[in-house]
Assembly symmetry: C2
Homo-oligomer: 241 residues x 2
């Protein structure tokens, strides 16, 4: 556990540490596979161990508990969806604000549809007594950051395109000012409120789809999703290109 196993750049140094890192990856991969087929609630340490030809107690050399394994999977999932969004957004011309937002939104939905159980892990109900460790908040912030960046640039466009917002009460304004002070000092409160709405709408709509709340209501999920995201873009004041 002492840091001597890892060089400061993160690459395992000794042979033992290399094998340990590889086995850790294999355990996570097997757990992820089991997650995809049976869901998080049914994730069994013993089954993961069987898959790897080990005995269950050996897993505890690598993860101190089942919950710690789940936490590792959660962090990986945040990283994966954040990476998918970032890469998709990066391929769009910087000046195309609408395209950047749509690219982000569609990439997140695409990842979620492909990895529904991992999506449920991070955006579904948290496990009972579980509280997210600090390690998760950084990767979790990547998608909101993309949205806020687009909202920030949209704020420099002529304001007439954005609908009038309701007046912001003082306590809400305080929260929003603290948030914008930390990440986007030039962003006005109304626009930050719209960014929060956009993120809520993005995740809320994907959750509705994956958790079955639109079953027999919406059939062409992808088309409906893109339509709704375009409406959200209009609220954000993102131009047509």
């Amino acid at each position: 556990m002492a840091g001597s196993e890892l060089s400061s750049t993160g690459a395992p140094r000794t042979a033992r540490a290399r094998i340990r890192a590889e086995l850790t990856r294999e355990i996570k991969a097997a757990a992820r596979a089991q997650l995809a087929t049976s869901g998080a609630a049914a994730l069994s340490l013993r089954a993961v161990a069987r898959d790897l030809g080990m005995v269950s107690s050996a897993i505890y050399r690598y993860f101190p508990s089942r919950d710690e394994l789940l936490t590792a999977l959660i962090i990986d999932a945040y990283d994966a969806v954040g990476l998918a969004a970032t890469e998709a957004e990066a391929t769009v011309a910087r000046s195309d604000l609408l395209g950047r937002w749509l690219g982000t939104a569609l990439a997140v939905r695409c990842w979620a549809v492909r990895h529904p159980q991992e999506y449920a892990l991070i955006f579904g109900s948290p496990v009972p007594g579980y509280s997210a460790p600090q390690d998760t908040i950084d990767p979790a912030a990547r998608i909101p950051m993309l949205i806020i960046a687009a909202a920030n640039e949209a704020a420099e466009l002529p304001a007439s395109k954005r609908p009038r917002a309701a007046a912001i009460p003082a306590p809400v304004r305080a929260d929003l000012r603290a948030l914008s002070a930390a990440i986007a000092p030039a962003l006005d409160d109304e626009q930050l409120g719209r960014a929060v709405r956009a993120y809520t709408q993005l995740i809320g709509l994907i959750s509705f789809e994956l958790f079955g709340h639109l079953h027999n209501v919406i059939h062409d999920y992808e088309a409906h999703f893109e339509y709704q995201m375009r409406c959200v873009a209009a609220d954000l004041g993102l131009g047509a290109g």
Copy 2:
């Protein structure tokens, strides 16, 4: 199991049936209590049985499996939140469209904050292989119905108040037309799309709050929630009174 146990009005007839109904209620109450403290994943049939001074196998006389017990709790939760929303909405003057929407939204959030585990049961990740039985779709529709009713009446107001919506692609329009044909024939597609957004925003924001995604970001949850719901109302075209 034959219908003879119940009169057509639903009241148990024989003493045995009355005891059975009462015990069924007690089991659900004990399960709900355990749910509130330990979460759905930790709901244990044996613990419920212990609470009631029974042995675990006796529970199976009333619920064929743990999942069936959970399903019963899910239906009860849908009923409870739908009832809370309906009652709150009913106290507002019919002509006050904004008040009716805000009353609905605040009532749903209030119920969710008071019963977070039951909320997670119905709006969080569904259990792995679980698919909602038909019994759940009717109570689940009560909140969307309230929103659609308000959206429908708002559509009769001068349209200038509502922002221009993006053009609706054909497949999306088909879904929306089928939906409105079933429940609100006079409702135009743009407005129905806004109602979907309003419902998504409502549930999405409550989920963000309860599942911890706004931790350290928003502090006055209630004020922020009401502000965002007012913005959603503006999108729906609901007047200020």
